[in-house]
Symmetry: C2
């Protein structure tokens, strides 16, 4: 039996017990759904993942896409897998019925994608970006744009990208130089070079819809002069059929350490006579619109990182259960048979660390997914606003924590396998490489940390920050009512207190001190906040587990719930205390890094 | 200008100021050498590294060795690079003159190899193993064996390997099953399968000398029944010329995530009529002999990890100095020109972390190298014994700490480059992959941690442990005399006190508690000891730097010494406090991992 891609029991725990997806089924939009329809979608996605995606997971790594000068060539299995997803109606399960979707709640969509991501994250990258692209156009485009570009993306005819970075301005959008010149017919001509465009060219779809940031001639400098354009690979006729080739050319493919199924491209716009572009919304408001897609992409990155961690955990767990080697320190008799390596305390540690990282991170991503759903579909304006506030605040953490700890989990997956983990007979080294991209794209961890401390915390008079601490406080209060959790609730409260006093100190310092100094250790602040939030996710899971155990202690699921409690304990014992170390650094406004002169290196 | 492979100034600091290689030049063995000869060897190695190794560093990654069914095929540049090393006399610079060496002190040899390792670690893997193989035979082989197998390895005609692991017994040597049957002529016939044999087959040398662990028929079970054999690829005639092909066959090559220039092989011994093997020393003492090579290989692994970290640090530093992007938080004017990314506090942090990890780790490896030299060549028996004791104790730390923190340094090297770090236009992703092997081979980190806590600490009535703490104490005493270091000396003393009380607690617990429980968090003990030892290395460097600054504050080197002080400060502020967290876990005999049931996962 091959190792399971994911633990179905855990997925169901997350969906039905931790986040209670059934509760949102009462909303009009989701009224056709019930647990059976969701489970059926999970079954289909698992079957497609195992039948179509898994068989080429490693092949695409050694046969990555190439550019023959005209077209991108890739192994045919990618197209077959995408076709299977599209035929099963899973290209955009959350979209409106009339746009080709099945109006699944976002939580369920995330779980459905989890199997596909686990088996073929780089293939699913095309679908994820396409949906995020369509979501942006649906939110900010004109009715004509929605008609032309959204429906074909929902049904998988077209694919979508996000084109922001340029050779001279990777993360610094203020410096982008791609230009847009308005034409008499209301369109624009786009000229410039973009890099790191995931899915920027391929033959997997009839057309590719690029969402491109550019400056209209005469626009203000900096981020306030950026506009957003739809720039398709092929123009589209009135009737929806493909028209002429637009002036968008593939300049080259990047050769990446991992994630090789998804092309990463350099694109030249308008090398001949300018690429035709269609303005989204108003001029100079492009960055604000793009944040719609970027924020979604950030949650997607966190989710991908968490899923890859979950998958590596299951693989190494399966290996550890079946691989005999060595004996326990207490049993040195060389005549005794070797134990399976799962018996070794340090292997248990590496498995438990993976479980704590991966399931903690995935719970956080699902929380973000639930909030993203709530901000659109919750019944009251107040609920929608609260969800928006909390999600907006949490986004840098949802993006970063899984991205940093997902690769750590995969590090342990390799280590559990030992030498076998380092060779491509087993997929854990591939997961480790795939996952390494996540702390980089859609805003590096450093950028997320500045977003958190310099923007998200202080904005709206700390409204998002306070909403987050209040939500954590509610979980703590509930945990205090559960006898076996009250000590852990106290520990999390102490960490929250440290976090809060550190935050107040830093906010106070912003008024009095050099801002560069106050922000110098922002990554440590992100680390600290992230650990508190993941401890929160674990306490939430522990409450559900403890209550389930109290209700039916002899349930067949008892072992599953015990595992949740033990992973929670692991996180509280081995990880949460780190926040004290980081708080000390922050409270000291440590200037060791900031004060390092360039010529001292 | 390409990025420097290594910082020559730092290499010279390590050699001449920190470890004072010139002091051991008074020994008879090294009397031909002086700073000029050592510098000349460094110049040659740097030139060979840049001319021969660097140009194919990335080519060998995408053109890894293949097996055509008869022979291993690899790109010709590897042979050319090896030839250049051999022709320059650098195949074994530390060996005896009469065996083809140049009797360089071990510290100088390590520095000479550093350039070659930085540019071509996987090519140097052949040379490193060959020397370690020859060293073992020189120490434990017969005169005839030394004559037949050592000299051709010293001069590069033959290569050497270490063949221990088997499919059913990776790290658990007690379970190995390769058998040896004595013959009338005094030789043995070896039969069995070995895996993970680095350099196990290739056409780079005339012959390959395998050192193979096997059981003589009737030997006791477990590690006490293991013998060591020389099993060459080709038999050798009386006159040293090659004889018949021995019955050793390549079963296949492993395809690794990194380190692709060095073949990793599965070998079949004796599939036809048994491979001819020559017993080293006495029967059933093979593991003890093999530790001679294993211990050397462990220091080699640590050194390789540290060198790869140093190289990634230099590359990302060079990039950060030249890549403009973004502005400081204090300067939001979009009209101001972007700064080079080295100006960003978080980039400084990632560079400083690399410097602290890489230079701290390399200093520790050089300390191990110095001790390995002293245990052979120090003038008095007492000095040799002390060096042996301290090295034996430190070996698991020298192997593990650089192996764990070297990849972390390379993680930051990638992160400094952002998206560029993830693609193979730049070599940092390759370094990250190469370095990932080091926590695995020659004994995983978990195995090293058991070696440290269960063997190295208690053995000889804690003699090695006490020698280590005494050596640290001497550095602390010296630092207390330096005004700007006395606070750091106090911090290290506090960490040593915590380490010591934790050690006493654990040793006491071994007498009273379940040994599996006491050892359950041995990796955290290794982490704690490792951090204390690296802090020691940094305090040693800081003393040299502070004294140099005091003597000539306006020296051109002032910036260099300031950098050393700042990196020390980084390690004390950002890393050393972690030891408190780990000590708490250890003092609690935390059983979270040990107590995790298999069915709870």
């Amino acid at each position: 039996m091959p190792a399971p891609l994911l633990d179905r029991r855990d997925l169901e725990f997350m969906l039905y017990e931790l986040f209670d997806v059934e509760q949102c089924l009462s909303r009009e939009r989701y009224s056709d759904h019930n647990r059976e329809t969701i489970d059926a979608a999970l079954d289909v996605s698992q079957a497609i993942a195992e039948k179509y995606f898994l068989p080429y997971r490693q092949k695409v790594d050694t046969h990555q896409p190439t550019f023959d000068g005209e077209k991108v060539q890739m192994i045919p299995e990618i197209q077959q897998a995408l076709d299977a997803v599209i035929e099963a109606g899973l290209a955009s399960p959350g979209a409106d019925y009339e746009l080709g979707g099945m109006q699944l709640p976002a939580l369920a969509t995330s779980a459905v994608f989890a199997y596909l991501n686990a088996a073929g994250s780089t293939t699913m990258g095309y679908i994820g970006l396409t949906n995020a692209n369509a979501n942006l156009i649906e939110a900010h485009g004109s009715e004509e744009q929605i008609r032309t570009w959204v429906e074909p993306q929902r049904t998988g005819r077209f694919a979508g990208t996000m084109a922001m970075s340029e050779p001279g301005a990777g993360s610094s959008l203020a410096d982008l130089t791609t230009s847009a010149v308005p034409q008499a017919d209301g369109t624009y001509r786009i000229t410039g070079n973009k890099i790191w465009i995931s899915g920027g060219d391929h033959e997997l779809s009839e057309n590719i819809v690029h969402l491109v940031l550019a400056r209209v001639k005469g626009a203000p400098k900096g981020v306030k002069g950026i506009s957003l354009f739809i720039v398709p690979k092929f123009l589209v006729n009135e009737d929806g059929s493909l028209g002429a080739r637009n002036d968008v050319q593939l300049a080259g493919l990047f050769h990446k350490m991992g994630g090789r199924g998804q092309t990463s491209t350099a694109l030249n716009f308008g090398e001949k006579d300018g690429a035709v572009g269609y303005l989204v919304g108003e001029e100079n408001r492009g960055l604000m619109y793009m944040f719609h897609m970027m924020n979604e992409a950030r949650i997607m990155v966190g989710t991908m990182a968490a899923t890859t961690a979950l998958c590596g955990y299951q693989y190494s767990l399966d290996y550890a259960k079946e691989r005999p080697q060595g004996r326990l320190p207490s049993s040195k008799d060389p005549l005794s048979p070797p134990v399976n390596i799962i018996e070794h305390a340090d292997v248990k540690r590496m498995l438990l660390a993976q479980k704590a990282y991966a399931e903690g991170a995935y719970a956080l991503c699902l929380l973000g997914t639930q909030l993203a759903d709530d901000e659109r579909t919750a019944p009251t304006e107040a609920e929608r606003a609260t969800a928006h506030e909390l999600l907006d605040f949490l986004t840098p953490i949802i993006k970063s924590w899984p991205s940093e700890y997902g690769p750590k989990a995969n590090y342990y997956a390799i280590q559990v396998l030992g030498g076998s983990g380092y060779v491509n007979e087993h997929p854990v080294e591939l997961m480790y490489r795939d996952n390494r991209l996540n702390p980089i794209h859609e805003g590096t961890t450093g950028i997320q940390s500045l977003d958190l401390l310099a923007r998200k915390v202080p904005q709206n008079k700390l409204a998002g920050y306070r909403a987050c601490l209040q939500a954590i406080g509610e979980t703590i209060s509930r945990a205090q009512q559960v006898a076996e959790l009250s000590a852990f609730a106290g520990e999390l409260q102490a960490s929250v207190d440290t976090l809060n006093s550190t935050t107040e100190f830093l906010l106070g310092s912003m008024l009095e001190q050099d801002i560069d100094l106050v922000l110098a250790n922002s990554v440590k602040y992100l680390d600290m906040f992230g650990h508190v939030v993941i401890a929160w996710m674990w306490l939430k899971q522990a409450i559900v587990a403890a209550e389930a155990l109290a209700n039916s202690p002899h349930d067949a699921d008892a072992a599953f719930y015990r595992g949740k409690l033990q992973a929670m304990r692991y996180f509280f014992r081995y990880e949460l205390p780190e926040t004290e170390v980081w708080a000390q650094l922050l409270r000291r406004l440590d200037d060791t890094c900031l004060g390092m002169h360039n010529d001292w290196f």
